[in-house]
Symmetry: none
Subunit: 198 residues, 4 copies
């Protein structure tokens, strides 16, 4: 008797997500070239062949990872925040607290940030593969908050985009630290804010 079609789809979806989730961490830590399918599959505790049931190639798997490692949720938060009737200082305070909180507790979040920023840095090559629109909108929204801060006299002078870039660069820096280092001293929200606030 055939398996129920529905159940089958569920199982597939579940396995696919397991592979994606575990691979995200692996790729973030070891890079594309440094990740071997054999190690990866041992890490996920599946056979090498199983990966190829769900993905066409190592590269395809990597691209799918980048697709799911987007900033949809983060963007939503920043959007909401930027619209609230708050001072830039408060907005950046709340944002920083949330971001650092997740960096500490959610390894996947750190991996996502690390992977995306790496791709953005290497850039050029295969931009097509990656939808960077979420990221760039986060940057421009952050820049707007900084601009608001400059008008309010709480943010430092300088190009808001440069400062936003600086702010998220520091987030990337601590994403790397949390990915690679077991014992490290996390900066405080104050430290992070200081990139853009007086």
């Amino acid at each position: 008797m055939p398996k129920s079609k529905e159940r089958c789809r569920e199982i597939r979806e579940e396995m696919r997500n397991t592979i994606l989730r575990k691979s995200l961490l692996y790729f973030a830590r070891n890079g594309f070239a440094g990740t071997k399918i054999s190690d990866l599959s041992r890490n996920i505790r599946i056979a090498q062949g199983t990966i190829y049931v769900y993905f066409e190639s190592k590269e395809d798997l990597f691209k799918e990872i980048l697709r799911i490692a987007d900033y949809k949720e983060e963007l939503r938060q920043v959007r909401v925040l930027s619209r609230l009737p708050l001072s830039a200082r408060v907005k950046l305070g709340k944002l920083s607290e949330r971001v650092l909180e997740r960096l500490k507790n959610d390894e996947m979040f750190a991996a996502k940030i690390a992977l995306n920023t790496q791709i953005m840095l290497e850039g050029s090559g295969d931009c097509s593969a990656l939808d960077t629109s979420y990221q760039s909108e986060i940057f421009s929204l952050t820049a707007k908050i900084i601009e608001q801060g400059q008008r309010e006299g709480t943010a430092v002078e300088g190009s808001p985009m440069k400062l936003a870039d600086y702010y998220w660069g520091v987030v990337y820096l601590y994403a790397l630290k949390s990915l690679f280092t077991t014992h490290y001293e996390m900066i405080s929200a104050d430290d992070l804010e200081r990139t853009v606030l007086k």
Copy 2:
């Protein structure tokens, strides 16, 4: 013919340095796993075999690169600076200006910082390979300057080591940017100082 022998050694030394210099950049950009000897040799415009005349293996080459990519010169500067009868604010100002200046103009400097920090992050694995003593002394000297700043009331509160780590982390961040991005906005010395100064 002692002179000819001398000349021979010179030529050898020159080739060896060329390989080291070009490889430093290549490894910094592509990582160890992402660097193929075939690509590397094409980049240097020598035959693959030539690399093995000067280095025992890819790993040996990499270790030699790390050996020359030390912070001897930087350490010297920081040492001198920390001993001068200056305020912490001025010391950090001068340090920041010099570091950002080199980051902009000296690609090798950026590569050196990127490579070292990467190794430090991945850490654990082969610490033996890398002499991190220069780096850690720079860190502790920077921490001392920050401590001085805290006494003088110009530096922010918090663990001086954490703040030094933050300061150099940002330097690493912009080393990466200058390595990978062609057009980017460099932060100012003020921006960099703000990681640790009020």
Copy 3:
């Protein structure tokens, strides 16, 4: 419930035959190495696992195919024909007409001939797997008819076995054509006869 059991056996037999029939065509067209179980099962519209309910392995399936792709029926016809009180010319004429007729209309027949001849050509390897006695009896009966023709002065000179081999070789040739080509010009019975008749 004896009836239900009987019915069950029937269904099994039916499925088994479907697999054998469809596989015969597939193997004839693509060869053993060129036939993937995944493609085959998709072609039959069953799951891959189902094949293994009826056959132990790909090789077992192939051997079973060769077992059913015998020349029992053809042998019977040639036997009857060779015993009739007819001239060699008439015998070969009737044989040629029947063979070409089936080649045109019965894809399974073409596949059978193609597969068997291929196996005979590659030969040596696994002769054990294939009972070539039917085939060789057809050859020797054909040789006898040719001998008769030589006595009657209608067949060309030369070793009767060589000529029989030639005759059936041409049949193989057009079996291949009908298997692979959609539009081709079939030779006439006269053309086929001419391999052995003046």
Copy 4:
């Protein structure tokens, strides 16, 4: 000191040809799917990697083989023959003798014919890869000789193209035999001619 550029090219050309020549036989005997790179390289007595120094992939190697396994030389002969002021019977006699001679003595010739005809039969798929123009010109020249024979009353009736196809089909048949069978009885030029001559 670098190897002489010229000598290098020679060595490369030589090895490339060795691989092509030996692979032609191997692919002709075992087909594309049935040919393993490991077996092939063992057969040529080189390392597997060496094949990839000269060819991008197994498929690329196969395509190159088809490119060299053309009928340029055969076409030249048929062209000359068809222009000579001879009767069709004599032309076909000479052609048949030459072809059967080469089939017996030149394994490469048999492999070439076997491979090309196989490709032509499977056809459709990747016609682009193979230049079939030589082959089709041989066919049409042969058809013209047959037409001449029909006018002279020596060739049998029927579509000249069909008969040319038949003639070369038989050549393919005995190419297969000479490739696969060690002991077989080769047909005579007379036998071959009889496909198209009365």
